[in-house]
Amino acid sequence: MSMLTATARLATVGPAAWFKGLISAETVKLRATRSTYAMLTGATALAVGIGPLVAKSTASRWPHLTAAERAGFDPMATTFRGFEIAQLIIATLGVLAVSSEYSTGLIRTTFAAAPQRRAVLAAKALVIGAIALLIGTALSFATFFPTQALLDPTGTSLALGHPGVVRALLAMGVYLTAIALTGLGLGTLTRSTAGGVAGLFGLVFLVPGAVSALPAPWNVRIGTWLPGDLAGQLTGLHLQAGALSRPASLIVLLLYPIVFLGLAAIRLHRQDA
């Protein structure tokens, strides 16, 4: 029997159909990998679990809180308490989308199958971005309702119709998308899972610590440009003193994936795979 009875014909392919093929390839990879589901489950459990837990404990402590403590309480921030950890998992999904290909050597097969490396990166970014936006926004809303319900006894709970709430919930989806794409960029630049995750960890947790130790006003000026702070600025119902305007904070947030993916694209194109 001949190995090649079936013929795979090369039709002249338009750029749209060609790029769609790259997107389906990345979708197949992500869906066929068990860790994808494990990570999304973990992120969901943390995001949807922690917010309501904190709300419940706050509600039970509420009668013992001072007036100042009550005044400082932020029901929106409580919703997102679990997202601090969940964001790392979602961003790691972005890192792994490329770093797992470097660690297994699969990246060479990928680039042999599609030598237009920047287009492959763009396809990965679209797939990861779409998942992060979808899951992130869903988690945001899914956490909001139980958290606020449990805060009901405190009288601080927010309704969906409260000014700024929907914007804040959508903004968290956008933030998670930006951080996942930053992870993809870092994974491509470092070509390693450990390197990419370490980069993320540094960006989200270590750099803010270091910046807060800077002398004023630099601690605030630089601090407002860091991803974690931008998340607070975008999802807060009220603008804090010294914060960027909302459009400005959105632009600065989007600069992170743009810069890291841009550098990654340059490196991919120029260097040996």
């Binding site: 190995m3 079936a6 795979a8 197949v28 050597g105 060479r108 680039f111 237009q116």
Partner: protein, 309 residues
């Protein structure tokens, strides 16, 4: 379509992996890419696939650079490293991702998995595959796009004897269909049974670009094994003709400095019966090692003399 490698040099830092390498791989025959480990075979194959960029020189497939090809699997199929798979994905998923990127129907994936003998494990995770199964998976991947150029890096590794025979038949069939087939190996014995043509490199330099037959004929002067009922008489005849003869424990003679043809002729003239007359495969391998090792030493010496490096 030909693979044309023209004056290609590749350095990694200080180390020169490939140096001034020029050769052409022609369609319609199996070309063996032969050289010891670390001689630059894999580097060259990576450069052919556009994965690594040469520091100097040019590589074209059918007149095009690989990185300019759109959906290249229809023109070039390659297996570089069978173990470069994501262990958590199934064989089907691995191939389907490649098929998607090249606009190949999923039905083709299933058919090929069946044809390479992985039909029953197609939906198992690749992490559980043996090396031989991964080789078959990689070969299926190379064949997905029905390409006219095929390239395999050490595909025999991990295959069982039945798999090796299957692969040899496959390579010959592919070449017989007019395709360009380049297969690398570090073992001459293996290539001598599969390849019609050999490109031999040592330390990144071309050593030979010749038919397998000629390469072996040159090398076989090294040693010939003879089995004859009157070994002593034959040995005297051969020694008289200038050969060095060594009696081996198994009753055969190892003859150096005479060709197999000359030995047969002398035995015939002396009226001596022969039961076996063959070039010593082990000595062929030695000659090949010697050849590549010489190339290395000469180059090192030349470099020293000219103050290179």
């Amino acid at each position: 379509m030909k693979i044309e490698v023209a004056d290609v040099t590749k350095r990694y830092g200080e180390a020169v992996a490939v140096s001034g390498l020029t050769f052409t791989v022609e369609p319609g025959r199996v070309t063996g890419f032969l050289g010891p480990n670390g001689s630059g075979k894999s580097t060259t194959m990576r450069m052919i696939l556009g994965l690594d960029t040469p520091d100097r020189g040019d590589i074209a497939i059918g007149g095009h650079r690989y990185r300019g090809l759109v959906r290249p699997m229809h023109q070039v199929g390659a297996l570089l490293d069978a173990t470069a798979v994501h262990p958590a994905r199934t064989g089907t998923a691995h191939l389907r991702a490649l098929a998607c990127a090249n606009g190949i129907a999923p039905s083709r994936v299933d058919a090929l998995l069946e044809q390479v003998g992985l039909g029953s494990v197609a939906r198992r995770r690749v992490g559980g595959y043996s090396l031989g199964m991964k080789q078959r998976l990689g070969i299926a991947g190379a064949l997905l796009g029905d390409p006219s150029v095929l390239m395999f890096d050490e595909p025999v590794n991990g295959l069982d004897p039945e798999g090796v025979r299957w692969l040899r038949d496959l390579l010959r069939d592919l070449a017989a269909e007019g395709r360009t087939v380049l297969v690398s190996s570090h073992l001459l014995s293996e290539m001598s049974q599969t390849a019609d043509h050999l490109i031999v490199i040592g330390r990144g330099r071309l050593i030979a670009d010749t038919s397998t037959q000629d390469f072996i004929a040159d090398g076989s002067a090294a040693r010939v094994i003879v089995r004859a009922p009157y070994g002593g008489d034959l040995a005297r005849v051969l020694i008289a003709d200038g050969a060095a003869v060594e009696a081996r424990g198994d009753g055969t003679l190892a003859v150096t400095d005479l060709t197999a043809a000359r030995i047969g002729h002398l035995a015939h003239e002396a009226g001596l019966e022969l039961h076996e007359l063959r070039p010593d495969q082990a000595s062929l391998e030695e000659a090949f090692m010697q050849l590549t090792a010489d190339a290395v030493e000469h180059r090192a010496l030349a470099a020293e003399l000219t103050g290179e490096r």
